[in-house]
């Protein structure tokens, strides 16, 4: 069941700040192209700013006091609120930075230190409403359906929501923590067949520093995830985070190389999927950066007219 209170906090119109992530821009720019494409098709008024920096990367908390995250996030909220209080992000990492910083600011000591630090640059931690792009697209499903030129052609798609989307804001999130299903609902409406699988909630395997320092345990998680997707006969898995995309795509390539997985499962960001069926040129969606070729998805899409002719 979708949390209507949360859905209601997403405004129908007005101006939004598109928070650009460094992983998307410097590794998967096709996701940024896709997000912009869908927002423009929907006629959404959004701004960006070069004064925005990296979100603060949650993992830096390992390096130092919690004030690194709260100060970097705080500075960004100050830049954002100069334009609008509503922020859109297409990365679970950026999304979680905002919510983690908010949680850390409940500690009086951290709050006081952060305020002192931000004062040095004449800024304040401002209140902003951080909206994940998946939530925003769900809210705008009507507009999306109107603008699509193709359907998903009955393709079997599974969804991986990702830890730093599902677990950071707990009960305040848009959907159930244990079994979210709003993206599956979107897939069905767009002419796809949504597929359930046992390890839906399991982490992609990235695990913060684990994918670098403990590759063996990180791989074991990714393989478990992919095995479960494979068992459910998913043709593709839709993600909402570039890090999950990277891990599921890159590791999968390695597993296929050593025949530890039979069939490739395409990995695609929700923004890329929506842009595709809304008429974006596939060449612009950055699929050349993916290790598992996405061509199969493209060949399965069906023009919308053919459905009405039947």
């Amino acid at each position: 069941m979708v949390n209507l209170e949360r859905l209601g906090r997403i405004p129908d119109n007005g101006s939004f700040f598109y928070f650009r992530g460094c992983f998307i821009n410097n590794v998967y720019p096709g996701i940024e192209f896709a997000t912009r494409f869908v927002l423009e098709k929907l006629g959404v008024n959004f701004v960006v700013s070069d004064d925005q920096t990296c979100c603060g990367t949650p993992e830096f908390s390992s390096l130092n006091a919690d004030t690194v995250l709260t100060s970097v996030v705080g500075r960004n909220t100050s830049i954002i609120s100069e334009k609008t209080p509503f922020v859109l992000t297409d990365c679970n990492g950026c999304y979680s930075s905002f919510y983690m910083a908010e949680a850390l600011m409940e500690d009086a000591k951290i709050k006081a230190q952060t305020e002192r630090i931000l004062k040095k640059i004449g800024r304040k931690f401002e209140e902003v409403e951080v909206i994940h792009i998946a939530d925003f697209f769900y809210k705008n499903m009507g507009g999306i359906l109107e603008k699509t030129t193709m359907t998903l052609g009955g393709m079997k798609l599974a969804v991986h929501y990702g830890c730093h989307y599902s677990h950071v804001d707990g009960e305040k999130g848009l959907d159930s923590i244990e079994n979210p299903s709003f993206i599956e609902e979107m897939i069905e409406k767009l002419g796809g067949k949504s597929v359930e699988y046992t390890e839906k909630i399991l982490c992609c395997g990235f695990g913060g520093i684990q994918q670098t320092v403990h590759k063996k345990i990180s791989y074991a998680t990714t393989q478990k995830k992919l095995d479960s997707l494979s068992e459910a006969e998913a043709e593709a898995v839709v993600v909402i985070c570039p890090y999950c995309l990277n891990v599921l795509d890159k590791y999968q390539g390695n597993l296929l190389d050593v025949e530890m997985l039979d069939k490739p499962i395409l990995v695609i960001h929700l923004s890329q999927l929506l842009a595709l069926i809304m008429g974006a040129e596939p060449e612009k969606l950055g699929f050349q950066m993916h290790r598992i070729p996405v061509e199969n998805i493209i060949s399965r899409l069906t023009p919308k007219e053919s459905r009405t002719k039947k």
Binding site: N26, D51, K120, I121, G286
Partner: protein, 201 residues
Amino acid sequence: MTSNTGEVSSSEGWNWSFFDKVEGLDSKKMENCFSCGICVGDCPAAKNSSYNFRKIICDVALGEEEKVLSSKEIWYCYTCFQCIPKCPWSIGIPYVIYRLRKLAMEEGYGWDLIEILSGVGRNLIEIGLSISPRDYARMDPKKAEMELAKSRLEMGLSERYEVSEKAIEELKIILGETGFREMLDNLEERVKESKESSENY
């Protein structure tokens, strides 16, 4: 003490001196925590390694400072936050792990494990972004940077994703104030030292 099966015995006396050093923990909640274990059930780290938060926190409350800080277990947490909504006692487990890692580093442990963060940390200070076009390159980094710029232009995006000078200046100030820059210098020094000593072998 904890046994190998993960059973926790409460017959031993607690010693809260180390516990108090790990800020943000409430001793009143702890008896509940020790007898719970909900966080371990679906924990991806617990499934694939010897990580078990309940055992770690018990050792903390037993005052086993050296044992916990020198352990490899505190570095297995995925910081996936799955335990945050699950924990009935609102312990904020990943934040406790972050603090334990920080205390461990103060004692000289774990520096080799966070070497990866020195590159992204330096990126943050220098370009205001943690990931640069060269970091995830599947080819020669210089070539990757050129390929990325080409793709970005074809997509109608700017050739490079750049943060303003003003933003980088402000970021430098706040990262200095948080102690991040000093920490990073330390980290780089240690990485250099360990590389030199391995070269001497």
